[in-house]
């Protein structure tokens, strides 16, 4: 379809590996086998090696999230409903993978230190963008700027922390319960005023 296929296959393999086992959890050999590519190709497309590929995969994931978000916000009028739907999708994916596929970025995020500068930078960008986009949606639907920003951070925390708990528990219950708690509260709290 597009020009180079190998490059994309490498990125896809890395993206999937990041979601399932994290950066340190995959070896190059495994990656190359999944992608069906030899080592030469990797270092041709990504001279920076493993970490450059990781950055490319992270960016790819970021773009994917962007698309899904805008699609979701288009479909649902209420941003809270969109977020609820987003959580449902994540949960299905987690269950369907026998609790192996959580947040595609969380594991790398925790693995990466201040070294790995580029990886950190990419992650930082994406998380900030997600919070911003979320906050803007909330503001467009009547939330005050301050509380919208706060709620955006809380929602991302719910997603990350909920998936983490569900994964460890081998059950979707923790995420489900956490989500219930949050959505029940938002329902009781006046949606659109200040504070």
């Amino acid at each position: 379809m597009t020009k180079t296929n190998t490059r994309d296959k490498l990125i896809a393999a890395m993206a999937d590996a990041l979601q399932r086992k994290g950066l340190h959890g995959v070896g190059l050999s495994e990656l190359l086998e999944i992608a069906g590519a030899p080592k030469g190709s990797l270092y041709h497309h990504f001279p920076g090696g493993k970490s450059e590929l990781a950055v490319a995969a992270i960016d790819h994931i970021g773009r994917r999230i962007d698309e899904q978000f805008s699609q979701l916000f288009r479909r649902h009028g209420d941003p809270l409903a969109a977020l609820h739907s987003w959580l449902q999708t994540a949960l299905s994916q987690l269950e369907d993978s026998r609790f192996e596929r959580g947040c595609p970025l969380a594991t790398v995020a925790l693995e990466s230190g201040p070294e790995d500068a580029e990886i950190r930078a990419a992650l930082q960008r994406i998380f900030a963008a997600v919070r911003l986009s979320l906050s803007q949606q909330l503001q467009q639907h009547g939330h005050a700027p301050e509380s919208a920003t706060n709620l955006a951070a809380l929602f991302v925390a719910l997603y990350e922390g909920g998936l983490l708990q569900a994964r460890v528990a081998g059950s979707s219950e923790p995420l489900r319960r956490a989500a219930d708690a949050l959505f029940n509260m938002t329902r009781q709290t006046p949606g659109g005023d200040a504070r």
Copy 2:
């Protein structure tokens, strides 16, 4: 003070490493250097090697959390206040370590797969215990069982997801904001009734 010191030093070194870099992120050599012990000692005290040491460290961390929790709940009447204080402590620790020390268990939690059975089991136990203890405290202060359990899961998610975001951002702002959002809502929501 106690009998064997080397064993404890190994556990402490592993516990710190787990918090900063995760299980795959540390090598035995680094661990041994920090603990000031030779390889023989490791395999004497932990015949199961790295992963057995990891389990011991995880259990150690679990016990520490237990203690801190009961202390916190003793000090504060309102469990919400206790949790707020808990978050403050976590935040200070994160900042003081230049955003390297987040949740001591989160990284291993995401790194570990269904293989690593013992590690998973230990993590599962601890997370479940934390949610339970938290839920019980909330129930003792008037929350209905159902909503208390849900809120407990949400709080753990806030802690985990907030720390993750803060770490990536290199700023405590995301966690602070997420916490503000949650605590403002709990304040507006009737504390002790059902649903």
